[in-house]
Amino acid sequence: MKTAIFRGVFPTFVGASLLAFSASPAFARSVSQAPKSVPSAAAPAPAAGTPAPAASAPSGPEPVAAPANPPTVSPIGEPIWISEASPWEARRLGAGGQRPPAADHDHAAMRSESAAAASPNAGTAMSEARNAEAAAEAMVDMSTHSGAKTLWLRRGDDPATASVVKADGQVFTLRIVGTDGKSWESQFADNSKGVLQAKVDLPDMGFYSAYLQSSAAVAGVRDVTVAKAELLKANCCSKRDVDLYRPAIDDALPIELVREHKPDEKVMTRILSGERAVYFVRSFGAPVEGAKVTIQTQEGWRKRAFTDAQGRVEFTLVRDYFPDWSDFNRRKTGTFLVLAEFERPEAGNLGGVAYGATRYHASMAGRYYPAPYDYQSYAWGLGIVVGVLLVGGFGVWLYRQRRTRAYREIVFDERVA
């Protein structure tokens, strides 16, 4: 009933208010900022859909050098991706346990670790909180913008069922790049629960990109995989520094997925259901045309598209959250996974294995939230204000009319009496 009310009255009000809004400073600002989208400090950004190649980046189809820490995570088969949200957290705030759980991790052990990792300060006090759901939401909200990140490595193209990668004694090098171009390394290592986990401390406010690059040659084909996570350290007071809103990009990578930041994106901006999500596929800083890009949400919605000449691909995130009013949670966090791949006829030899072609794979996860127009109503807001004005105005008028009415003298006719 609620959403029906929204849908019926919201467009009517928006249509009228847009006329007024189009003359407002906010409208002028949004228009004037549009060409400045997707800047980059590390390299020219794919602004307004056109990523500029970095001057220092190699542009030819050179074979990719093996990483310093040779990976053993096979890029073949199910994709590998970096998750900022633990799988149990995503399910708790997202699908509500409707979809099957991941298969190869210890839920109980990692649940306790998640609470501590998400926000150490909040966790202890919140554990005693009466309102458990609110406490959990608060922890997640804080962890989203906190500089202390905990990352998991996951396997599978379905965010709802992708398993956490077991350690099995392996250690992988994670490289983090800031918008200022500075980079450092961290490690995916056993978190003592048998699962690969990396902890990253972001030094300054702004966006960072974390990369896990791997390469392997099997059956005459070399597969190069770059798993990426876009990390953000922010607080509400850092809103005015435009450098904070730029994505961190590495033009030395053979494949990279870059999310287009909105023209008016701020550090607190969220990706919303029903809105467009734009991605660029780049190789050594240059756009890749014809790359296959797939997006899948944890609710199971999947869509595939191919990049244009600018390496750009656009999806409209599905609205997939229609609970009863009593169950509605505006902080409901959904996870989606974007996968990109393309192939080039690059031959060579890797670790003694000859190959005749190279396939590039990139992965990047994101979070999305219910859009405010799913639960906010301009019509009701304006209706209440106008109603109060009408009722209040009439009441004041009536009150004054009664107070100013001429005194009526009561005359007794004594002759009658």
Binding site: R240, V385, V388
Partner: protein, 339 residues
């Protein structure tokens, strides 16, 4: 022996300081205040577009919901958010940050005292503009009866208490997080101030939870009440504003003060007549020199309307900056600028 020759009865040259003081005391006060308010309004509603950043501890309604336009934040917003922290943090290391924030707020506050309300507050300025429109339309204004005044005067303290207790309840886990910043949610400034910067996103009712539904509906209700109330009553909302109550509780050490010399007061009632907040003590109390009451917004209209030399004055750190004079009163009366 040196010096100029003076003749008895000849006009003597006034010293420069005296000239400045006379000019200040004879100023067209309403016009001066109007333009000062316009300046502060532009600063606090659009200053952010110019990159001005005054921090997040301002003792006036530089509304936090005014996105890019605000040059700083009204302290009530961060205060409520800070108090909503889990108690273990609030009464632990985070308490230092809370106290520091309060200290910065206090330093801002003691400069102008409640003059922040009378001269700086954008919501107060909007109310004065509505009053000006009402006057031009020929509508008469309303006044509370003494009994109504007494009944309503405690509401701002109740709102202040709720504004502090509800966030503390959130931190303790007793109250939903959806109740965070409860006063901001019902403050008319949340809807009205951003609208002046072209942002109408707050004019909504939020159905996402019962708490949000209640608070945003109440916000729309208070905004409607604010608009209709300000049309018939001068400074309608200031009477209920918890920031005003908060100011009053901290006003003792403030540098900017309203002082009355009861010995010079004739109790003519001019000051009460122009007082937007209907403060009777300004006319009746001839004993207490610190005449600023809890509802006072230190707009200084009473000083401008007083015909007695030195009966009312505004002082800053003990120095008189504006005082009532007969000459100034007559000058303003001739211009019709005292009401």
């Amino acid at each position: 022996m040196s010096g100029s020759l003076e003749f008895p009865g000849a006009p003597t040259a006034r010293p420069l300081s005296r000239k400045i003081r006379d000019a200040a005391n004879g100023v067209d006060f309403n016009r001066f205040r109007f333009w000062l308010q316009v300046g502060f309004f532009i600063l606090l509603v659009y200053g952010g577009f110019a990159g001005i950043d005054l921090g997040g501890r301002l003792p006036t309604f530089s509304c936090v919901y005014n996105g890019e336009g605000r040059p700083g934040m009204c302290y009530l917003a961060p205060l409520q958010h800070q108090l909503a922290m889990p108690w273990q943090r609030l009464f632990g290391e985070a308490g230092i940050a809370v106290l520091t924030g309060f200290g910065v707020f206090f330093l801002w506050f003691i400069v102008l005292n409640k003059g922040w309300c009378g001269f700086v507050c954008p919501l107060g300025t909007i109310q004065d503009w509505i009053t000006a429109v009402r006057r031009r339309l020929g509508m008469r204004f309303a006044r509370y009866s003494d009994a109504t005044f007494e009944r309503l005067s405690w509401i701002k303290y109740l709102l202040l208490a709720l504004m502090l207790l509800i966030p503390l309840g959130i931190g303790a886990g007793y109250v939903s997080h959806d109740m965070s910043a409860p006063y901001c949610m019902i403050c008319p400034a949340r809807l009205i101030v951003p609208s002046f910067a072209g942002d109408f996103r707050q004019w909504v009712v939020d159905f996402s939870s019962p708490s949000k539904l209640a608070l945003t509906s109440l916000g729309a209700l208070t905004t409607g009440t604010f608009l209709i109330g300000s049309t018939v009553k001068k400074r309608f909302w200031c009477f209920f504003c918890p920031m005003s109550a908060f100011h009053y509780l901290l006003s003792k050490p403030a540098a900017f003060r309203l002082v009355k010399d009861g010995g010079k007061c004739t109790r003519c009632g001019d000051c009460y007549g122009v007082c937007d907040l209907q403060i009777k003590e300004i006319a009746d109390d001839v004993k207490n020199p610190q005449i600023m009451m809890d509802d006072c917004i230190v707009c200084l209209k009473c000083v401008a309307a007083c015909p007695e030399d030195g009966a009312l004055k505004a002082t800053f750190a003990g120095l008189t900056v504006f005082e009532s004079t007969e000459a100034g009163f007559i000058k303003r009366m001739e211009k019709g600028a005292t009401t």
